[in-house]
Amino acid sequence: MKKLTLLFIAMTFAVGCEKVTKIDTTNDAGKQVMALDYRDFDQAASEMIQSLLSSGVLARQDGGKYVLTTGVITNDTMQRIDTDLLSAKIEEDISNSGQVVMTSAVGGKDSNRDSMVNDLRDVRDSAKGDEFKQDTMPSKGTLIAPDLSLSGKIYQNNLRYDKKNQQVEYYFQLKITDLKSGLRFWQKEVLIGKRGSNKTVAW
């Protein structure tokens, strides 16, 4: 019985000593990994945002703001990535720059749209619509169509570097297209390359 109690106490201490640390995401000096981690998305997004703001394409000549939607950003890597990890950062900064307004009425994927925009209109057109004060319901023809669309892809290329090491290249490619004319206003590619042991898995 005494031995069992001691074993229980020892196990409790052992479990309690498992070290978990919070990542200092502002000054992270942790080792690099072969797969894409948050630092890679931070870098790619930062370079994209700076290129976009530096290009001046978002500044309207008449002083107004462009309406921007996020189209399709394809994940062409071997990893399961939510491309919102990239687009959300870009959307946030370019909205805060005061040069564009994002729309949630249309978008390339569900997370770019707010389903309530259409749901509320469905309610308005249904029998339940009479239950609402009519001047609080959205009228027809009130949605603003986007002027510009942000789209692109993330591509992964795996190469054999030597017998023991591999090279993984990640290409972040984004473009902004004027939806009326179809003209491409801006595009940028950010390359993040990593080399490491073949034993490390890049997906």
Binding site: D42, Q43, A45, I49
Partner: protein
């Protein structure tokens, strides 16, 4: 006598190898091994210069910091410098943008970004502010890891 001859041979070699170098336009940086040798960069003296550079802890010098507003009215900054070390120096920088009240502007783009400065060469990097509100900036650097 032998020592004296060896010294003379050493000194002579340096002048023979380093004799062909002519200064060129400073805007063009020609790497060691591509350009003609100098006394500082010669097959005989290179190891000593390298060891000195390492011991002296030579690194980067910031030569110029200039800022302007682009066509959209957003502030941009360019930092130019020179890597005095005889090896490529990688470092990271992070730009924090400040508004007219001296407050930091929160932005996703404020992250550590990497610069690779070639040995004994000039380098530069540019940064763009997140909005027109930015009127000033602070730049921090740290050693690049991994």
């Amino acid at each position: 006598m032998k020592k004296c001859l060896l010294m003379m041979f050493f000194a002579g070699s340096v002048f023979v190898f380093a004799g062909c170098y002519k200064p060129h336009d400073k805007r063009v940086s020609v790497a060691a091994g591509v350009r003609s040798d100098t006394i500082e960069n010669n097959i005989i003296t290179r190891p000593f210069i390298g060891a000195y550079s390492l011991l002296a802890g030579e690194g980067i010098d910031i030569k110029d910091v200039r800022s302007w507003r682009n066509t959209a009215g957003i502030m941009e900054v360019q930092v130019s410098g020179h890597n005095r070390a005889v090896y490529t120096k990688q470092f990271e920088y992070r730009v924090e943008w400040l508004n007219d009240k001296g407050m930091r502007i929160e932005a996703q783009q404020t992250v550590w970004l990497r610069v690779s400065a070639k040995a004994m060469s000039d380098f530069s990097f540019t940064a763009t502010a997140p909005s027109r509100d930015a009127v000033d900036f602070k730049i921090n650097t740290r050693k690049a890891k991994g």
